[in-house]
Protein backbone atom coordinates (compact mmCIF):
# COMPACT_ATOMS: atom_id res chain seq x y z
CA UNK A 1 0.00 0.00 0.00
CA UNK A 2 1.33 3.34 -1.00
CA UNK A 3 0.16 6.71 0.09
CA UNK A 4 -0.90 9.12 -2.59
CA UNK A 5 1.53 11.91 -3.11
CA UNK A 6 -0.65 14.71 -1.82
CA UNK A 7 -1.54 12.77 1.27
CA UNK A 8 -1.72 14.48 4.62
CA UNK A 9 1.36 15.08 6.72
CA UNK A 10 1.71 12.24 9.14
CA UNK A 11 4.32 10.09 10.74
CA UNK A 12 3.00 6.85 9.32
CA UNK A 13 5.75 4.23 9.08
CA UNK A 14 5.16 3.77 5.37
CA UNK A 15 5.62 7.35 4.40
CA UNK A 16 7.93 9.17 6.72
CA UNK A 17 10.98 11.30 6.28
CA UNK A 18 14.43 9.92 6.94
CA UNK A 19 17.37 11.37 8.75
CA UNK A 20 20.82 11.53 7.19
CA UNK A 21 24.04 10.92 9.08
CA UNK A 22 27.34 11.69 7.48
CA UNK A 23 30.27 10.66 9.68
CA UNK A 24 33.92 11.36 8.99
CA UNK A 25 33.48 11.38 5.25
CA UNK A 26 36.53 12.12 3.12
CA UNK A 27 36.66 12.07 -0.65
CA UNK A 28 39.66 12.67 -2.83
CA UNK A 29 39.79 12.94 -6.59
CA UNK A 30 43.47 12.83 -7.41
CA UNK A 31 45.89 11.02 -5.08
CA UNK A 32 46.43 14.07 -2.89
CA UNK A 33 43.55 16.37 -3.81
CA UNK A 34 41.01 16.11 -1.03
CA UNK A 35 37.63 17.41 -2.00
CA UNK A 36 35.99 16.54 1.31
CA UNK A 37 37.93 16.20 4.55
CA UNK A 38 36.45 14.42 7.50
CA UNK A 39 32.94 15.82 7.19
CA UNK A 40 30.35 15.25 9.91
CA UNK A 41 26.84 16.30 9.19
CA UNK A 42 23.44 15.25 10.43
CA UNK A 43 20.10 16.15 8.97
CA UNK A 44 17.04 15.52 11.09
CA UNK A 45 14.03 13.83 9.52
CA UNK A 46 11.86 16.43 7.84
CA UNK A 47 14.50 19.11 7.94
CA UNK A 48 15.65 21.26 5.04
CA UNK A 49 19.39 21.92 4.96
CA UNK A 50 21.12 24.21 2.52
CA UNK A 51 24.72 23.57 1.53
CA UNK A 52 26.27 26.89 0.65
CA UNK A 53 29.80 27.72 -0.36
CA UNK A 54 32.11 29.11 -2.99
CA UNK A 55 32.46 27.07 -6.15
CA UNK A 56 34.88 24.21 -5.82
CA UNK A 57 34.29 23.85 -2.07
CA UNK A 58 32.95 20.33 -2.51
CA UNK A 59 29.28 20.95 -1.86
CA UNK A 60 28.14 19.05 -4.92
CA UNK A 61 30.52 16.24 -4.09
CA UNK A 62 29.02 16.03 -0.62
CA UNK A 63 25.52 15.79 -2.07
CA UNK A 64 26.62 13.13 -4.52
CA UNK A 65 28.21 11.21 -1.68
CA UNK A 66 24.97 11.34 0.28
CA UNK A 67 23.22 10.05 -2.84
CA UNK A 68 25.82 7.25 -3.02
CA UNK A 69 26.81 8.32 -6.51
CA UNK A 70 30.31 8.65 -5.06
CA UNK A 71 31.67 6.24 -2.51
CA UNK A 72 33.80 8.04 0.06
CA UNK A 73 37.44 7.13 0.64
CA UNK A 74 36.66 6.99 4.33
CA UNK A 75 33.66 7.58 6.59
CA UNK A 76 30.04 6.50 6.31
CA UNK A 77 26.72 7.82 5.10
CA UNK A 78 23.60 6.36 6.66
CA UNK A 79 19.93 6.99 6.13
CA UNK A 80 17.63 6.19 9.02
CA UNK A 81 13.90 5.88 9.05
CA UNK A 82 11.91 6.50 5.95
CA UNK A 83 10.45 3.67 4.00
CA UNK A 84 13.59 1.63 4.08
CA UNK A 85 17.10 2.88 3.77
CA UNK A 86 17.81 0.21 1.21
CA UNK A 87 14.97 0.85 -1.15
CA UNK A 88 16.28 2.53 -4.25
CA UNK A 89 13.47 4.98 -4.68
CA UNK A 90 13.72 6.22 -1.11
CA UNK A 91 16.12 8.89 -2.23
CA UNK A 92 15.52 11.22 -5.11
CA UNK A 93 18.00 13.53 -6.77
CA UNK A 94 17.30 16.64 -8.79
CA UNK A 95 20.05 17.77 -11.12
CA UNK A 96 21.01 21.30 -12.11
CA UNK A 97 19.54 20.83 -15.55
CA UNK A 98 16.29 18.95 -15.85
CA UNK A 99 18.03 15.80 -17.19
CA UNK A 100 14.96 14.55 -19.00
CA UNK A 101 15.02 11.83 -21.63
CA UNK A 102 14.39 13.73 -24.87
CA UNK A 103 12.57 10.85 -26.54
CA UNK A 104 10.04 10.58 -23.75
CA UNK A 105 7.06 12.81 -23.17
CA UNK A 106 6.53 14.58 -19.85
CA UNK A 107 4.29 11.75 -18.71
CA UNK A 108 6.75 9.06 -19.78
CA UNK A 109 9.65 10.86 -18.11
CA UNK A 110 7.80 10.94 -14.81
CA UNK A 111 6.92 7.27 -15.23
CA UNK A 112 10.60 6.29 -15.61
CA UNK A 113 11.43 5.72 -11.90
CA UNK A 114 8.36 3.51 -11.54
CA UNK A 115 9.44 1.50 -14.57
CA UNK A 116 12.98 1.04 -13.28
CA UNK A 117 11.75 0.09 -9.83
CA UNK A 118 9.39 -2.40 -11.50
CA UNK A 119 6.48 -0.82 -9.74
CA UNK A 120 4.07 -0.74 -12.65
CA UNK A 121 2.29 -3.87 -11.46
CA UNK A 122 -1.03 -2.15 -11.23
CA UNK A 123 -1.57 0.35 -13.98
CA UNK A 124 -4.25 2.25 -12.16
CA UNK A 125 -2.13 3.08 -9.16
CA UNK A 126 0.87 4.11 -11.24
CA UNK A 127 -1.35 6.33 -13.36
CA UNK A 128 -2.59 7.92 -10.16
CA UNK A 129 0.92 8.40 -8.80
CA UNK A 130 2.09 10.06 -12.00
CA UNK A 131 -0.99 12.26 -12.21
CA UNK A 132 -0.59 13.39 -8.63
CA UNK A 133 3.11 14.15 -9.03
CA UNK A 134 2.48 16.17 -12.18
CA UNK A 135 -0.37 18.14 -10.66
CA UNK A 136 1.66 18.76 -7.51
CA UNK A 137 4.38 20.54 -9.49
CA UNK A 138 1.82 22.52 -11.47
CA UNK A 139 2.01 20.73 -14.81
CA UNK A 140 -1.43 20.67 -16.36
CA UNK A 141 -2.90 17.94 -18.47
CA UNK A 142 -2.32 19.70 -21.80
CA UNK A 143 1.44 19.49 -21.21
CA UNK A 144 1.67 15.82 -20.31
CA UNK A 145 2.05 14.58 -23.87
CA UNK A 146 4.62 17.21 -24.81
CA UNK A 147 8.26 16.38 -25.33
CA UNK A 148 11.02 18.17 -23.37
CA UNK A 149 12.17 20.13 -26.44
CA UNK A 150 8.76 21.78 -26.56
CA UNK A 151 8.86 22.90 -22.93
CA UNK A 152 10.23 26.05 -21.36
CA UNK A 153 13.11 25.80 -18.88
CA UNK A 154 10.76 26.22 -15.94
CA UNK A 155 8.42 23.52 -17.16
CA UNK A 156 11.30 21.14 -17.72
CA UNK A 157 12.41 21.73 -14.14
CA UNK A 158 8.87 21.08 -12.91
CA UNK A 159 8.86 17.83 -14.85
CA UNK A 160 12.19 16.91 -13.26
CA UNK A 161 10.74 17.61 -9.81
CA UNK A 162 7.67 15.51 -10.59
CA UNK A 163 9.92 12.63 -11.59
CA UNK A 164 11.77 12.95 -8.28
CA UNK A 165 8.52 12.96 -6.33
CA UNK A 166 6.66 10.18 -8.09
CA UNK A 167 8.26 7.45 -6.00
CA UNK A 168 7.44 9.37 -2.83
CA UNK A 169 11.03 9.48 -1.57
CA UNK A 170 11.81 10.17 2.07
CA UNK A 171 14.89 12.19 1.11
CA UNK A 172 15.09 14.75 -1.66
CA UNK A 173 18.53 15.92 -2.74
CA UNK A 174 18.78 18.94 -5.02
CA UNK A 175 21.98 19.99 -6.75
CA UNK A 176 21.63 23.69 -7.65
CA UNK A 177 18.28 22.83 -9.15
CA UNK A 178 17.21 26.29 -10.26
CA UNK A 179 20.59 27.82 -11.08
CA UNK A 180 19.80 27.91 -14.78
CA UNK A 181 16.49 29.71 -14.36
CA UNK A 182 15.93 33.45 -14.32
CA UNK A 183 15.19 35.21 -11.02
CA UNK A 184 11.42 35.37 -11.40
CA UNK A 185 11.19 31.70 -12.23
CA UNK A 186 13.64 30.81 -9.52
CA UNK A 187 11.51 32.54 -6.90
CA UNK A 188 8.43 30.72 -8.14
CA UNK A 189 10.20 27.36 -8.05
CA UNK A 190 11.41 28.07 -4.52
CA UNK A 191 7.83 28.69 -3.48
CA UNK A 192 6.77 25.50 -5.18
CA UNK A 193 9.44 23.54 -3.34
CA UNK A 194 8.26 24.95 -0.01
CA UNK A 195 4.65 24.08 -0.85
CA UNK A 196 5.71 20.53 -1.59
CA UNK A 197 7.62 20.35 1.64
CA UNK A 198 4.68 21.68 3.61
CA UNK A 199 2.43 19.03 2.10
CA UNK A 200 4.84 16.22 2.90
CA UNK A 201 7.62 17.40 5.23
CA UNK A 202 10.26 15.24 3.62
CA UNK A 203 13.96 15.63 4.37
CA UNK A 204 15.65 17.88 1.85
CA UNK A 205 19.26 18.78 1.27
CA UNK A 206 20.05 21.24 -1.45
CA UNK A 207 23.16 22.81 -2.85
CA UNK A 208 23.11 26.43 -3.90
CA UNK A 209 25.35 29.42 -4.23
CA UNK A 210 22.45 31.81 -3.95
CA UNK A 211 22.23 33.19 -0.38
CA UNK A 212 18.61 34.34 -0.64
CA UNK A 213 17.54 30.94 -1.85
CA UNK A 214 19.43 29.22 0.96
CA UNK A 215 17.71 31.44 3.55
CA UNK A 216 14.27 31.27 2.03
CA UNK A 217 14.16 27.49 1.88
CA UNK A 218 16.12 26.12 4.81
CA UNK A 219 15.97 25.30 8.49
CA UNK A 220 19.73 25.31 8.68
CA UNK A 221 22.54 26.43 6.45
CA UNK A 222 25.89 24.65 6.29
CA UNK A 223 28.65 26.80 4.90
CA UNK A 224 31.33 24.72 3.24
CA UNK A 225 34.87 25.79 2.59
CA UNK A 226 37.95 23.83 1.61
CA UNK A 227 36.28 20.48 2.00
CA UNK A 228 34.96 21.13 5.50
CA UNK A 229 31.82 22.44 7.13
CA UNK A 230 33.12 25.87 8.10
CA UNK A 231 29.97 27.04 9.88
CA UNK A 232 26.39 26.13 10.70
CA UNK A 233 23.81 28.90 10.69
CA UNK A 234 20.43 28.32 12.28
CA UNK A 235 17.58 29.79 10.32
CA UNK A 236 14.76 30.72 12.70
CA UNK A 237 12.49 32.32 10.12
CA UNK A 238 8.96 31.02 10.68
CA UNK A 239 6.98 28.77 8.38
CA UNK A 240 4.94 29.10 6.26
CA UNK A 241 7.26 31.45 4.43
CA UNK A 242 5.76 34.03 2.19
CA UNK A 243 7.13 36.26 -0.50
CA UNK A 244 6.89 39.21 1.88
CA UNK A 245 9.36 37.52 4.15
CA UNK A 246 12.09 38.22 1.61
CA UNK A 247 11.81 41.93 2.27
CA UNK A 248 11.58 41.63 6.07
CA UNK A 249 14.15 42.88 8.58
CA UNK A 250 14.94 39.38 9.87
CA UNK A 251 15.62 38.14 6.37
CA UNK A 252 18.03 41.02 5.75
CA UNK A 253 19.83 40.37 9.04
CA UNK A 254 20.26 36.70 8.28
CA UNK A 255 21.40 37.58 4.79
CA UNK A 256 24.11 39.80 6.26
CA UNK A 257 25.18 37.12 8.68
CA UNK A 258 25.40 34.44 6.01
CA UNK A 259 27.22 36.59 3.49
CA UNK A 260 29.85 37.71 5.98
CA UNK A 261 30.46 34.08 7.00
CA UNK A 262 30.71 33.17 3.36
CA UNK A 263 33.20 35.95 2.76
CA UNK A 264 35.26 34.66 5.70
CA UNK A 265 35.36 31.18 4.22
CA UNK A 266 36.17 32.33 0.74
CA UNK A 267 39.30 34.18 1.81
Amino acid sequence: MRKPFMGSVDSDENTSAASIHVAGVSVRFATDRWVLQDIDLSVIAGEIVALLGPSGCGKSTLLRTIARLISPDSGTVTLQGGNSARRSSDLAYVFQDATLLPWRSVWENVRLPLEIGRRLDSNISSTRLITEALLAVGLMEQDWRKFPRHLSGGMRMRCSLARALVTDPSVLLLDEPFAALDDMLRTRMNELLLELWQARSRTMVFVTHNIAEAIYLSHRIAILGQGKVAAWIENQLPFPRTRQLRSSMEFAQLFGQVSSKLAEVAT
Binding site: S88, T99, P102
Partner: protein, 269 residues
Protein backbone atom coordinates in the same frame (compact mmCIF):
# COMPACT_ATOMS: atom_id res chain seq x y z
CA UNK B 1 4.17 25.32 -38.37
CA UNK B 2 6.21 27.76 -40.36
CA UNK B 3 9.74 26.55 -40.13
CA UNK B 4 9.65 23.25 -42.07
CA UNK B 5 8.05 25.06 -45.01
CA UNK B 6 10.78 27.66 -45.04
CA UNK B 7 13.45 24.96 -44.71
CA UNK B 8 11.93 23.16 -47.66
CA UNK B 9 11.96 26.32 -49.75
CA UNK B 10 15.59 26.85 -48.95
CA UNK B 11 16.60 23.31 -49.87
CA UNK B 12 14.55 23.68 -53.03
CA UNK B 13 16.59 26.72 -53.93
CA UNK B 14 19.80 24.83 -53.28
CA UNK B 15 18.52 21.99 -55.44
CA UNK B 16 18.08 24.50 -58.27
CA UNK B 17 21.70 25.59 -57.93
CA UNK B 18 23.10 22.06 -58.05
CA UNK B 19 20.76 21.24 -60.94
CA UNK B 20 22.16 24.23 -62.83
CA UNK B 21 25.67 22.86 -62.32
CA UNK B 22 24.58 19.49 -63.70
CA UNK B 23 23.05 21.07 -66.79
CA UNK B 24 26.20 23.11 -67.32
CA UNK B 25 28.48 20.07 -67.07
CA UNK B 26 26.32 18.05 -69.47
CA UNK B 27 26.41 20.95 -71.95
CA UNK B 28 30.20 21.20 -71.77
CA UNK B 29 30.37 17.45 -72.24
CA UNK B 30 28.14 17.63 -75.32
CA UNK B 31 30.01 20.56 -76.84
CA UNK B 32 33.38 18.90 -76.18
CA UNK B 33 32.33 15.64 -77.84
CA UNK B 34 31.00 17.48 -80.93
CA UNK B 35 33.83 20.00 -81.32
CA UNK B 36 36.73 17.65 -80.58
CA UNK B 37 35.11 14.86 -82.64
CA UNK B 38 35.68 12.31 -79.84
CA UNK B 39 35.00 8.67 -80.80
CA UNK B 40 31.77 7.34 -79.18
CA UNK B 41 33.70 4.32 -77.92
CA UNK B 42 35.88 6.67 -75.85
CA UNK B 43 33.26 9.18 -74.81
CA UNK B 44 29.75 9.12 -76.22
CA UNK B 45 27.69 12.30 -76.22
CA UNK B 46 25.04 12.75 -73.53
CA UNK B 47 22.31 12.41 -76.18
CA UNK B 48 23.72 9.10 -77.25
CA UNK B 49 23.89 7.85 -73.66
CA UNK B 50 20.28 8.91 -73.16
CA UNK B 51 19.06 7.12 -76.27
CA UNK B 52 20.96 3.94 -75.39
CA UNK B 53 19.52 4.13 -71.87
CA UNK B 54 16.06 4.27 -73.41
CA UNK B 55 16.76 1.40 -75.76
CA UNK B 56 18.13 -0.71 -72.90
CA UNK B 57 15.51 0.41 -70.40
CA UNK B 58 14.27 -3.12 -69.70
CA UNK B 59 17.76 -4.45 -68.97
CA UNK B 60 18.62 -1.37 -66.93
CA UNK B 61 15.44 -1.52 -64.89
CA UNK B 62 15.98 -5.17 -64.12
CA UNK B 63 19.61 -4.55 -63.19
CA UNK B 64 18.59 -1.57 -61.05
CA UNK B 65 16.10 -3.68 -59.13
CA UNK B 66 18.50 -6.61 -58.76
CA UNK B 67 21.24 -4.36 -57.38
CA UNK B 68 18.76 -2.47 -55.21
CA UNK B 69 17.63 -5.74 -53.68
CA UNK B 70 21.21 -6.82 -52.96
CA UNK B 71 22.10 -3.40 -51.50
CA UNK B 72 19.02 -3.37 -49.25
CA UNK B 73 19.74 -6.86 -47.95
CA UNK B 74 23.37 -5.85 -47.46
CA UNK B 75 22.44 -2.68 -45.61
CA UNK B 76 19.84 -4.53 -43.57
CA UNK B 77 22.38 -7.13 -42.54
CA UNK B 78 24.94 -4.46 -41.60
CA UNK B 79 22.38 -2.68 -39.49
CA UNK B 80 21.41 -5.89 -37.72
CA UNK B 81 24.92 -7.26 -37.26
CA UNK B 82 26.57 -3.87 -36.71
CA UNK B 83 24.07 -2.90 -34.01
CA UNK B 84 24.49 -6.22 -32.22
CA UNK B 85 28.27 -5.89 -32.29
CA UNK B 86 27.98 -2.30 -31.03
CA UNK B 87 25.76 -3.45 -28.16
CA UNK B 88 28.34 -6.05 -27.20
CA UNK B 89 31.06 -3.39 -27.40
CA UNK B 90 29.06 -1.01 -25.23
CA UNK B 91 28.86 -3.51 -22.42
CA UNK B 92 32.55 -3.75 -21.70
CA UNK B 93 35.59 -1.57 -22.30
CA UNK B 94 37.68 -4.74 -22.35
CA UNK B 95 35.69 -6.28 -25.16
CA UNK B 96 36.11 -3.01 -27.06
CA UNK B 97 39.84 -2.93 -26.46
CA UNK B 98 40.16 -6.52 -27.64
CA UNK B 99 38.03 -6.36 -30.78
CA UNK B 100 37.79 -2.79 -31.99
CA UNK B 101 41.19 -2.85 -33.75
CA UNK B 102 39.91 -5.72 -35.90
CA UNK B 103 36.81 -3.77 -36.78
CA UNK B 104 39.07 -1.02 -38.08
CA UNK B 105 41.06 -3.72 -39.87
CA UNK B 106 37.83 -4.81 -41.54
CA UNK B 107 37.49 -1.27 -42.78
CA UNK B 108 40.95 -1.17 -44.30
CA UNK B 109 40.82 -4.52 -46.17
CA UNK B 110 40.24 -3.75 -49.85
CA UNK B 111 37.01 -5.47 -50.71
CA UNK B 112 38.28 -6.26 -54.21
CA UNK B 113 40.85 -8.47 -52.55
CA UNK B 114 38.38 -10.61 -50.63
CA UNK B 115 35.60 -10.78 -53.22
CA UNK B 116 37.25 -13.76 -54.98
CA UNK B 117 37.60 -15.46 -51.61
CA UNK B 118 33.94 -14.97 -50.89
CA UNK B 119 33.09 -16.54 -54.24
CA UNK B 120 35.30 -19.50 -53.38
CA UNK B 121 33.51 -19.95 -50.07
CA UNK B 122 29.94 -19.06 -50.91
CA UNK B 123 29.75 -19.61 -54.67
CA UNK B 124 28.29 -17.47 -57.40
CA UNK B 125 24.98 -16.09 -56.33
CA UNK B 126 22.82 -13.41 -54.88
CA UNK B 127 23.85 -14.00 -51.27
CA UNK B 128 27.52 -13.60 -52.05
CA UNK B 129 26.76 -10.17 -53.49
CA UNK B 130 24.80 -9.37 -50.34
CA UNK B 131 27.78 -10.40 -48.22
CA UNK B 132 30.13 -8.12 -50.13
CA UNK B 133 27.66 -5.26 -49.71
CA UNK B 134 27.33 -6.05 -46.01
CA UNK B 135 31.08 -6.15 -45.37
CA UNK B 136 31.59 -2.79 -47.07
CA UNK B 137 28.75 -1.06 -45.25
CA UNK B 138 29.30 -2.59 -41.82
CA UNK B 139 31.96 -0.34 -40.33
CA UNK B 140 30.05 2.98 -40.17
CA UNK B 141 27.22 1.21 -38.37
CA UNK B 142 29.49 -0.37 -35.77
CA UNK B 143 31.50 2.78 -35.12
CA UNK B 144 28.54 5.17 -35.00
CA UNK B 145 26.27 2.98 -32.90
CA UNK B 146 29.10 2.13 -30.49
CA UNK B 147 29.83 5.83 -30.08
CA UNK B 148 26.14 6.52 -29.50
CA UNK B 149 25.79 3.77 -26.90
CA UNK B 150 28.87 4.89 -24.99
CA UNK B 151 28.54 8.68 -25.11
CA UNK B 152 25.46 8.86 -22.90
CA UNK B 153 24.98 11.98 -20.80
CA UNK B 154 26.61 11.43 -17.38
CA UNK B 155 23.70 12.95 -15.46
CA UNK B 156 21.28 10.59 -17.18
CA UNK B 157 23.50 7.67 -16.24
CA UNK B 158 23.55 8.91 -12.64
CA UNK B 159 19.78 9.15 -12.71
CA UNK B 160 19.58 5.48 -13.62
CA UNK B 161 22.23 4.55 -11.04
CA UNK B 162 20.27 6.36 -8.34
CA UNK B 163 17.27 4.20 -9.14
CA UNK B 164 19.56 1.17 -9.06
CA UNK B 165 18.67 0.32 -12.60
CA UNK B 166 20.04 -2.97 -13.90
CA UNK B 167 22.56 -3.01 -16.73
CA UNK B 168 19.81 -4.29 -18.94
CA UNK B 169 17.52 -1.37 -18.03
CA UNK B 170 20.31 1.13 -18.68
CA UNK B 171 20.88 -0.46 -22.06
CA UNK B 172 17.25 -0.75 -23.04
CA UNK B 173 15.86 2.48 -21.63
CA UNK B 174 18.87 4.78 -21.96
CA UNK B 175 21.71 3.63 -24.20
CA UNK B 176 19.75 2.22 -27.12
CA UNK B 177 17.26 5.10 -27.40
CA UNK B 178 20.06 7.66 -27.28
CA UNK B 179 22.03 5.74 -29.92
CA UNK B 180 19.21 5.78 -32.48
CA UNK B 181 20.26 9.11 -33.94
CA UNK B 182 23.81 7.79 -34.30
CA UNK B 183 22.46 4.71 -36.05
CA UNK B 184 20.71 6.96 -38.57
CA UNK B 185 23.95 8.87 -39.14
CA UNK B 186 25.77 5.60 -39.72
CA UNK B 187 23.06 4.38 -42.07
CA UNK B 188 23.38 7.51 -44.16
CA UNK B 189 27.02 6.71 -44.78
CA UNK B 190 26.37 3.00 -45.18
CA UNK B 191 23.54 3.48 -47.68
CA UNK B 192 25.96 4.63 -50.38
CA UNK B 193 28.55 2.03 -49.37
CA UNK B 194 25.99 -0.79 -49.58
CA UNK B 195 25.24 0.17 -53.19
CA UNK B 196 28.96 0.29 -54.02
CA UNK B 197 29.43 -3.08 -52.33
CA UNK B 198 26.57 -4.62 -54.28
CA UNK B 199 27.93 -3.35 -57.61
CA UNK B 200 31.48 -4.48 -56.85
CA UNK B 201 30.13 -7.84 -55.76
CA UNK B 202 28.16 -8.19 -58.96
CA UNK B 203 31.21 -7.39 -61.06
CA UNK B 204 32.80 -10.54 -59.65
CA UNK B 205 29.82 -12.72 -58.93
CA UNK B 206 27.27 -11.84 -61.60
CA UNK B 207 29.95 -12.38 -64.19
CA UNK B 208 29.56 -16.10 -63.93
CA UNK B 209 25.81 -16.52 -64.13
CA UNK B 210 23.56 -15.64 -67.01
CA UNK B 211 20.30 -15.51 -65.09
CA UNK B 212 21.49 -12.90 -62.63
CA UNK B 213 22.25 -9.43 -63.91
CA UNK B 214 22.70 -6.58 -61.51
CA UNK B 215 24.19 -3.25 -62.55
CA UNK B 216 27.73 -4.48 -61.87
CA UNK B 217 27.23 -7.61 -63.98
CA UNK B 218 25.59 -5.66 -66.80
CA UNK B 219 28.44 -3.15 -66.82
CA UNK B 220 31.04 -5.94 -67.03
CA UNK B 221 29.22 -7.51 -69.96
CA UNK B 222 28.89 -4.23 -71.81
CA UNK B 223 32.51 -3.42 -71.17
CA UNK B 224 33.51 -6.65 -72.93
CA UNK B 225 31.34 -5.61 -75.88
CA UNK B 226 32.97 -2.15 -75.86
CA UNK B 227 29.57 -0.48 -75.41
CA UNK B 228 30.78 2.65 -73.67
CA UNK B 229 27.46 4.44 -74.12
CA UNK B 230 25.57 1.59 -72.43
CA UNK B 231 28.10 1.47 -69.58
CA UNK B 232 27.57 5.16 -68.99
CA UNK B 233 23.82 4.68 -68.84
CA UNK B 234 24.44 2.03 -66.18
CA UNK B 235 26.65 4.46 -64.30
CA UNK B 236 23.80 6.94 -64.25
CA UNK B 237 21.46 4.19 -63.03
CA UNK B 238 23.96 3.32 -60.26
CA UNK B 239 24.08 6.93 -59.16
CA UNK B 240 20.30 7.07 -59.07
CA UNK B 241 20.28 3.92 -56.99
CA UNK B 242 22.70 5.46 -54.49
CA UNK B 243 20.54 8.56 -54.18
CA UNK B 244 17.36 6.49 -53.89
CA UNK B 245 18.83 4.35 -51.12
CA UNK B 246 19.90 7.43 -49.17
CA UNK B 247 16.48 9.01 -49.65
CA UNK B 248 14.75 5.88 -48.39
CA UNK B 249 17.00 5.83 -45.31
CA UNK B 250 16.24 9.49 -44.60
CA UNK B 251 12.53 9.12 -45.17
CA UNK B 252 12.13 6.01 -43.06
CA UNK B 253 14.21 7.62 -40.29
CA UNK B 254 11.89 10.60 -40.32
CA UNK B 255 8.74 8.49 -40.38
CA UNK B 256 9.71 5.74 -37.96
CA UNK B 257 12.40 7.14 -35.68
CA UNK B 258 11.40 10.77 -35.28
CA UNK B 259 10.84 10.37 -31.55
CA UNK B 260 14.49 9.51 -31.01
CA UNK B 261 16.13 11.63 -33.66
CA UNK B 262 14.17 14.88 -33.35
CA UNK B 263 16.29 17.49 -31.69
CA UNK B 264 19.40 15.34 -31.98
CA UNK B 265 20.99 18.12 -33.97
CA UNK B 266 21.43 16.73 -37.46
CA UNK B 267 17.98 17.24 -38.93
CA UNK B 268 18.70 20.80 -39.99
CA UNK B 269 21.48 20.79 -42.50
Amino acid sequence: MNRPARGFGKSFQQAYLSLAVLVFVVMIWHVAVVLLKIQPIILPSPMRVASVAWAERAALAMAFLATAKAAFYGLGMSVAIGSLVAILFSQSARVRAAFYPYVIFLQTVPIIAIAPLLITWFGYGFWTVVKVSMIISLFPIISNVTAGLISVDQNLLDLFRLQRASKWQVLWKLRIPSAVSHLVLGMRISAGLAVIGAIVGEMFVGYGSADYAGLGAVMTQWQRLARTDAIMSAVVASTLLGITTLAIVNLSARLLLNRWTAGAGFEQE
